[in-house]
């Protein structure tokens, strides 16, 4: 509606004062130069979007701003004055607040919601740590109200652990805002939020902008840039590869993020339609209070399941994979009754899942690529339980080469790789092993565009060679980019089930927003 007005540079409060300058920032880890001289200026009352593929240096730049890397090169100036970003506390003193992507590292489980809200003040000694909860409540309420969270005291006195992931994110945001920052850094704040919460967040960011706060907004999503940003800065390989002022040339932005070869690779996917049913769900209730659904997952096509957070996507994937039991109903696989008691039953049948949360559900700290790739298929690399190192390495190398993982060898630890390459490993290990049914739950989360395209086209090849591929995501554009058939889930129920060419974005979004 009034987006045009908002993105108009003339609407920004004049005169545009630069509150924060990053001059020629460099940062290296060992011999690895991650930032190679980055110069950015943030202006009061403007939203600057920071884009970049995984490994481009976004996270490092944010951490410099948050005072995590005091030994960076270059100068940080606040209001024109050079400052030393020696610690997170120093950053806060200079009016810079950061809301990091990883929530669990920033909230304190075991404390109440209220205590978490006033945590900064407790740390700084402005509020004594030992004090009755009741006396913390007024200040906590005040902070919650800045975001119109509308949390009653019953919520404020809960253990913060009981909050959902989205509410925890809002809590952190409220906490950052309670410090009245001059500069607010948001690192992919919408990755865990539902559409309504995103709207609320955007309204809030616009309000902050009108109050003169400089916002640095880190994201992977171009739609958010278009909607929210006044300026955009693109990082590639530790350098600024493009910076623009609205209105943006999005094609140029995308080009600036990618290397040429990835762009050459992009092509229109040809829609495939399968006929034979792989998995049939009958009377399956995905969430505790919803009607049971029937659903067919077919060989030879990529089924895209799209829905907001809490729509039952992961429940569907985990149920088919046998990671969680279904509440009600039954399944058949290849026409025969299928009741997995354990994921092992599914793996034996060629039904594989790439789980939603890579770090918590797929990564094994310190494990090599070859070990990670072969864990589900130990039978293939062993005889009489004794492991053959040669077979193990061969499979590791297959995954590495076939999926273009950037790693020195199959012996390299997976957690030393970038996010996109980690994802290629945990997806590739299943794709290598001839999946019958391949379930990919949010496979593109925190993954750069290059890796995203690789994974998409591999998923398509799998379906073309006869597999039943299911991609689950909350991002409509992502799903449209990969799926032949689209299933919309709303609160545990199927609202739409069509081939991609038969519907447009509008129809999908409309059906997603229809709540019974």
């Amino acid at each position: 509606m009034d987006d045009e007005v908002v993105t108009d540079p003339a609407a920004a409060p004049a005169p545009a004062a630069e509150v924060l300058n990053l001059d020629d920032i460099t940062m290296a880890f060992g011999g690895n130069q991650v930032l190679k001289g980055v110069t950015v200026a943030l202006t009061a009352g403007r939203v600057t979007a920071l884009l970049g593929a995984n490994g481009a240096g976004k996270s490092t730049l944010i951490k410099v701003l948050a005072g995590v890397y005091p030994d960076h090169g270059g100068t940080v100036r606040v209001g024109g004055e050079p400052v030393q970003m020696t610690s997170p506390l120093a950053a806060a003193r200079h009016g810079i607040q950061t809301v990091h992507q990883r929530i669990d590292e920033n909230i304190v489980p075991g404390l109440t919601v209220a205590e978490n809200l006033v945590f900064e003040e407790i740390i700084r000694g402005e509020l004594p740590p030992v004090r009755s909860l009741r006396r913390l409540l007024p200040r906590a309420r005040e902070i919650a109200d800045t975001l119109d969270l509308g949390w009653p005291d019953s919520v404020l006195t809960k253990d913060v652990f009981e909050l959902g992931i989205a509410d925890s994110q809002l809590l952190l945001l409220a906490r950052a805002l309670s410090q009245r920052p001059r500069v607010l850094v948001l690192d992919e704040p919408t990755s865990t939020l539902s559409a309504a919460e995103v709207d609320r967040l955007f309204a809030l960011i616009r309000r902050l902008r009108s109050e003169g706060v400089a916002v640095l907004y880190v994201t992977h999503r171009l739609s958010e840039v278009r909607e929210l940003a006044d300026e955009v800065v693109v990082l590639r390989d530790g350098r600024i590869s493009s910076s623009q002022v609205a209105p943006f040339d999005m094609a140029a932005v995308v080009r600036a993020m990618l290397t040429e070869s990835v762009l050459v690779q992009s092509h229109e996917l040809v829609e495939q339609r399968g006929h034979d049913v792989a998995v049939r769900l009958q009377g399956v209730q995905l969430l505790s209070r919803c009607a049971p659904i029937d659903l067919e997952l077919r060989y030879g096509e990529v089924t895209g399941v799209v829905g907001l957070i809490g729509a039952g996507k992961s429940e569907l994937a985990r149920g088919v994979f046998g990671a969680d039991r279904l509440r009600t109903g039954s399944m058949t696989f290849d026409g025969r009754p299928y009741r997995p008691r354990h994921s092992k039953d599914a793996v034996r049948k060629g039904i594989y899942l790439v789980p939603e949360d890579r770090a918590a559900e797929a990564m094994l700290p310190g494990w090599s690529l070859a070990w990670t790739a072969t864990l589900p298929f130990l039978g293939q690399i062993s005889r009489g339980r004794v492991i053959s190192a040669a077979k193990e390495n061969r499979i590791g190398r297959e995954v590495l080469e076939h999926f273009g993982v950037v790693a020195t060898s199959a012996a390299q630890a997976v957690d030393a790789l970038s996010g996109g390459n980690q994802q290629k490993v945990v997806v590739g290990r299943w794709m290598r092993a001839a999946p019958r049914v391949l379930l990919l739950d949010e496979p593109f989360r925190g993954v750069d565009i290059g890796a995203r395209r690789d994974i998409s086209s591999q998923a398509h090849e799998q379906a073309a060679s006869g597999a039943c591929v299911v991609v689950l995501s909350s991002d409509v554009e992502e799903i449209r980019g990969v799926a032949d058939r689209i299933v919309v889930l709303v609160e545990g129920e199927v609202r739409l089930d069509r081939y991609t060419s038969e519907i447009d974005d509008e129809a999908i979004v409309t059906s997603m927003s229809e709540v019974a």
Binding site: G31, N32, S343, L364, L375
Partner: protein
């Protein structure tokens, strides 16, 4: 597929530019640091050995070396028991009391019931199996955190074994409650477990070496071991890779109970009576030895050879210091220093993160 080939080529090229991160371009100081972590602990052991051998003529004799190896046997075997549970991310606190239970079971079998030595061995091993299964049941089925479940089991065993003997130690020819003399005694073949030789090698040393080799083979060369390490690294990721996490966690505790009973078997053969306090002090030593083992060769994870080396080092230090006239009451201090030095290698100097997080 040509698209894929160019992709691979491109990624190779960018892999080269990232080589320093991948580990090929280490600085000299990092290399030194890595070798210190990797070989430092072995070097310390060798240096101590050479020092004691040079300054005490009796130290490096065959008799003394076999004594040291024998001294290490019980600790090493109990260390292996704890190690298996550490591999799956847990910690078995009941091994000391399981070893104590073995002592008592063997004594009761032979002294009270006048049965043979081999029968006593079977009873002891069955005892270890039962404790292992009980731990596995409490942890896997009842979902009690490892440390708490085994702590409870430890107390129950310690107390329960006192009840049938009314808190008394069992010895051959002891007077029973009804005034009669106990019918049986420790048989000669049973006492041979500790005192016998195979060729020129003492039996306990042989048992220890066989178990270390077995444990190493199972953990690093078989799918069982791989799966156990996976559970220790990330149980949820293991489960979603199709691993039956509960079964293998339980298995680790059963193995632990069995190994602990073997340790107890050597112990009771050595002391030759049913001492009610036997085994109770060995828990912490076994945990320490297994922890020391994580630092050897920069492994950063529990492993069999490291555990053996830890037990040997403790034995070398104790023997050497005793020969130098150190009184017995200095022993715990010496053990503590050994443990702390080992932990310095794995936690302080190492650039690699050590994963040791027992579930609580």
């Amino acid at each position: 597929m040509s698209g894929n080939t160019t992709q691979v080529a491109r990624d190779r090229a960018s892999a080269l530019s990232k080589a320093p991160l991948a580990g090929n371009g280490l600085t000299t100081s990092q290399r030194v640091q890595d070798s210190v972590v990797k070989y430092g602990f072995i070097a310390v052991t060798v240096i101590l050995f050479v020092y004691f051998a040079a300054s005490e003529p009796a130290f490096a004799t065959q008799l003394s070396i076999f004594q040291m190896l024998k001294g290490a046997a019980v600790t090493a075997i109990l260390g292996l028991a704890v190690m298996f549970t550490m591999v799956v991310g847990g910690l078995d606190l009941s091994i000391g009391s399981t070893a104590g239970l073995s002592v008592q079971l063997a004594a009761m079998t032979m002294v009270f019931y006048n049965l043979t030595g081999p029968t006593a061995v079977v009873v002891v091993i069955l005892g270890g199996l039962v404790v292992g299964l009980l731990n596995a049941f409490l942890i896997v089925v009842c979902k009690i955190p490892d440390l708490l479940a085994t702590l409870g089991v430890m107390f129950v065993i310690q107390g329960a074994k006192l009840i049938p003997v009314r808190g008394q130690s069992i010895s051959s020819g002891m007077t029973l409650r009804d005034g009669s003399t106990a019918p049986g005694k420790f048989t000669a073949d049973f006492l041979k477990i500790d005192r016998g030789f195979v060729g020129r090698v003492p039996v306990p040393v042989l048992i220890m070496l066989v178990l270390v080799v077995l444990a190493w083979f199972v953990l690093s060369r078989t799918t069982w071991g791989r799966v156990m390490y996976a559970i220790g690294a990330n149980p949820e990721a293991a489960r979603l890779a199709g691993v039956r996490v509960g079964f293998y966690r339980g298995l680790a505790y059963v193995v632990s109970g069995l190994l602990a009973s073997v340790g107890g078997l050597i112990l009771v053969s050595r002391i030759g009576q049913g001492d009610v306090n036997a085994g109770s002090s060995s828990l912490l030593e076994a945990v320490a030895v297994a922890l020391v083992g994580t630092s050897v060769l920069g492994m950063g994870k529990p492993n069999a050879w490291g555990t053996l080396l830890g037990a040997l080092l403790v034995s070398i230090v104790l023997t050497g210091l005793t020969m130098k006239g150190l009184q017995y009451y200095h022993q715990d201090t010496a053990k503590g220093v050994v443990l702390l030095v080992a932990l310095l290698f794995s936690f302080t100097i190492s650039r690699r993160k050590v994963r040791y997080t027992p579930a609580t």
